[in-house]
C-alpha cells in the first residue's frame, strides 16, 4: 500500500509544480520584447561510416 505521507508529499509537490509553471508563464508573457529567431544550422543527414 502507498504510504499516506508519501501521497501527501506528492500532492504538495503537485501543487507547487503547477504553481511554479503558471508563474513562469506569466513572467514570460509579461517580459518586454521577444527574442529574434536564431538561425539553426541543420545537421547534415550523412550516415556515420565505421
Amino acid at each position: 500500500m502507498m504510504p499516506i505521507w508519501l501521497l501527501n508529499i506528492w500532492h504538495g509537490l503537485s501543487v507547487a509544480a503547477g504553481s511554479l509553471v503558471l508563474i513562469l508563464l506569466c513572467w514570460h508573457a509579461l517580459r518586454p520584447g521577444t527574442h529574434q529567431p536564431q538561425a539553426e544550422q541543420p545537421e547534415p543527414l550523412q550516415p556515420r561510416n565505421h
Partner: protein, 486 residues
C-alpha cells in the same frame, strides 16, 4: 428552462469558446508562409513549448479516461499513467535536441531522408492512422463531456465543438494551436489543481478516504492488476505515444535545441509531479461520493466515461463547475487541434508536394494545408458520430504506432549507418503485421500488450534483417532522400 446554475455553466463555457475563436483570428494575421503555418516559424520559447506539450498530453484519455481508471482500479491506474510523462522526459532529454537540429516539417520526412521511399510511405500511413484515430477519440470525448454535463445532444456537441477547433486550426495553423494550447494549459492546471485540493479537503484528507474505501484503492498491485499486467501496460503506455507527430512537432517548433530539450522534458517533469496524484484524488473521491456511484450505476456503463464529468457536477458550485467544464473541454480540444495540425502538414508536405505538384509555390501549399485541415476535421467529426468508444479507439492507435515506428526512429537518430534501408523497412512491416496478428487473430493472449509484443518483434527483426541485407546495395527506391525544400 435552464436553471441559474446551468446558465452560469453555459456562460463560462461560452466565454471560453469565444476566446478560442478570437485567438484563432488573431493568429491568422501572423501567418506569412507555410513555415509559420506548420512550425510557427521555429521560434517558440521553452516555457511555451512546455505548456503546449503538456496541454497536448492531457487529452480525453489522460483526464476522463484516467479518472475513470482510478475509480475502477485505484492507485495502480494512476501509477501506470506515469509512463506517459516519463516518456516525455526521455524524449525531451535525448531525442528532442536531435530532432530540432534536423529542421524537419514531418516525421515521415525523417524516414525518407534516412531509409528511402518505402519507409517514408509506411511512416505516412502509420502517422495518419495514429492522428486520425486520436482526433476521432478527442472529438468523441468532447461530445461525451458536453452531453453528460450540460445535457446537450451528443451530435450537436460534437458538431459545435469540432467547428470551433477546425476554425481556429484552419485559419491560424500551428500558431493558433500553440496560443490556444497555452490558454488551455492554464485552465487545465488551475482547474485540475484546484479540484484536487478542494476534493481532498472536502473528504478530510487521504487518511479519512482510506478509512471509507479500505486499502484496496491504495495498493500498488491488485488481484485484477498483477505485477505482470502492470509492467506490460506501463511499457505499452510508455511506447504508445513515443515520438508521435503531435510531440515531434513540439520539437520542430522550438526556438533552438535547448528550448526543444527543456520544453518537452519540462512538460514531462511537470506532469509527472502534477497529474497522477491529482487524478488519483479525483478517482478515489468519486469512489466515496454516493451521487457519482448512483450516476455510474444509472448509466449502466461498467467502464464509465462519465465519472469525471459527474464528479465535477456533483461536487462544485456552478461557477467552479463551469470553469471545470471548460478545463475538460480544453483538455480534449488541445489534443485534437494538434492532431489536426499534423494531419494538414502531412497532407501538404508528404502527399501534395511529393505526389501532386513538386514545384508548388508557398502560397499554394499554404492553401492546400488550410483545405486539408478543414477536410480532415470534418471527416473526423463525422467518424466521431459513428464510433463512440474512446478507450477502444485509443488502444487501437497506440497498439499500431510503437511497433511500426519506434525502433527505426531510434535507429535513425542514434545508430544510423549506411545500407539500413531494407532492414528498417522490414522492421516497420514486421511490427505492423505482428500487432495485427496478436491483436485480431490471436485475441491478445495472456493480456500481453499488443504494442509491446509488436515492438519486441520489431527489435528482433531489425538486427536479423540488417545482418542479411547490409551488404546489398540500395536500389533507387531505397536510397535515402536528399531533396531540400524550395
Amino acid at each position: 428552462m435552464p436553471t441559474p446554475d446551468q446558465l452560469m455553466e453555459f456562460g463560462a463555457l461560452g466565454a471560453y469558446l469565444i476566446l478560442l475563436v478570437w485567438i484563432g483570428m488573431q493568429s491568422s494575421r501572423g501567418i506569412q508562409n507555410t513555415l509559420d503555418y506548420t512550425v510557427a516559424g521555429r521560434d517558440v520559447a521553452w516555457i511555451v513549448v512546455l505548456a503546449t506539450t503538456a496541454a497536448t498530453m492531457v487529452g480525453g484519455g489522460a483526464s476522463i479516461g484516467s479518472v475513470s481508471g482510478v475509480y475502477q482500479h485505484g492507485l495502480v491506474f494512476a501509477l501506470v499513467t506515469c509512463a506517459w510523462h516519463m516518456q516525455l522526459i526521455v524524449t525531451g532529454l535525448w531525442i528532442a535536441p536531435r530532432l530540432r537540429q534536423l529542421n524537419l516539417l514531418t516525421v515521415a520526412e525523417f524516414f525518407g531522408k534516412r531509409f528511402g521511399e518505402p519507409a517514408r510511405l509506411l511512416a505516412i500511413v502509420s502517422c495518419l492512422i495514429f492522428l486520425v484515430g486520436a482526433l476521432v477519440a478527442q472529438m468523441v470525448a468532447m461530445g461525451t463531456i458536453t452531453e453528460t454535463i450540460l445535457g446537450i445532444d451528443y451530435h450537436l456537441a460534437v458538431v459545435a465543438g469540432a467547428a470551433i477547433v477546425i476554425f481556429y486550426s484552419t485559419v491560424g495553423g500551428i500558431r493558433a494551436v500553440v496560443k490556444t494550447d497555452v490558454l488551455q494549459f492554464v485552465v487545465l492546471v488551475s482547474g485540475i489543481g484546484a479540484a484536487s485540493i478542494y476534493l481532498l479537503a472536502k473528504n478530510g484528507g487521504f487518511a479519512a478516504i482510506l478509512q471509507v474505501t479500505g486499502e484496496a484503492p491504495f495498493q500498488f498491485t491488485t488481484d485484477e492488476w498483477p505485477a505482470m499486467r502492470l509492467i506490460t501496460l506501463f511499457f505499452g503506455f510508455f511506447l504508445g505515444e513515443m515520438l508521435v507527430p503531435s510531440y515531434a512537432v513540439r520539437c520542430f517548433i522550438a526556438r533552438d535545441v535547448q528550448s526543444a530539450r527543456w520544453g518537452v522534458a519540462g512538460s514531462g517533469i511537470l506532469l509527472l509531479c502534477f497529474l497522477p496524484v491529482a487524478i488519483f484524488i479525483m478517482g478515489i473521491s468519486a469512489q466515496v461520493d454516493p451521487d457519482v456511484q448512483q450516476a455510474v450505476l444509472a448509466s449502466g456503463n461498467a467502464d464509465s466515461q462519465i465519472v469525471f464529468p459527474t464528479l465535477m457536477r456533483e461536487t462544485f458550485p456552478a461557477a467552479i463547475s463551469g470553469i471545470m467544464i471548460a478545463a475538460l473541454i480544453a483538455a480534449v480540444m488541445s489534443s485534437g487541434d494538434s492532431c489536426l495540425s499534423c494531419i494538414s502538414t502531412i497532407m501538404m508536405e508528404d502527399l501534395y508536394r511529393k505526389f501532386v505538384d513538386r514545384q508548388a509555390s508557398d502560397g499554394r501549399l499554404l492553401r492546400v494545408a488550410k483545405v486539408a485541415t478543414l477536410v480532415a476535421g470534418a471527416i473526423a467529426a463525422a467518424c466521431s458520430l459513428v464510433y463512440r468508444d474512446i478507450v477502444e479507439i485509443l488502444e487501437f492507435v497506440y497498439d499500431f504506432w510503437a511497433p511500426t515506428m519506434i525502433a527505426p526512429f531510434l535507429v535513425g537518430l542514434f545508430l544510423y549507418r549506411k545500407n539500413q534501408s531494407y532492414a528498417a523497412t522490414l522492421c516497420m512491416l514486421s511490427g505492423f503485421i505482428s500487432v495485427g496478428i496478436w491483436r485480431f487473430w490471436l485475441g491478445t493472449p495472456g493480456d500481453f500488450s499488443p504494442a509491446l509484443f509488436g515492438f519486441l518483434v520489431s527489435i528482433i527483426v531489425f538486427p536479423i534483417a540488417l545482418l542479411l541485407t547490409h551488404n546489398l546495395p540500395n536500389s533507387k527506391m531505397f536510397q535515402p532522400q536528399q531533396e531540400q525544400r524550395p
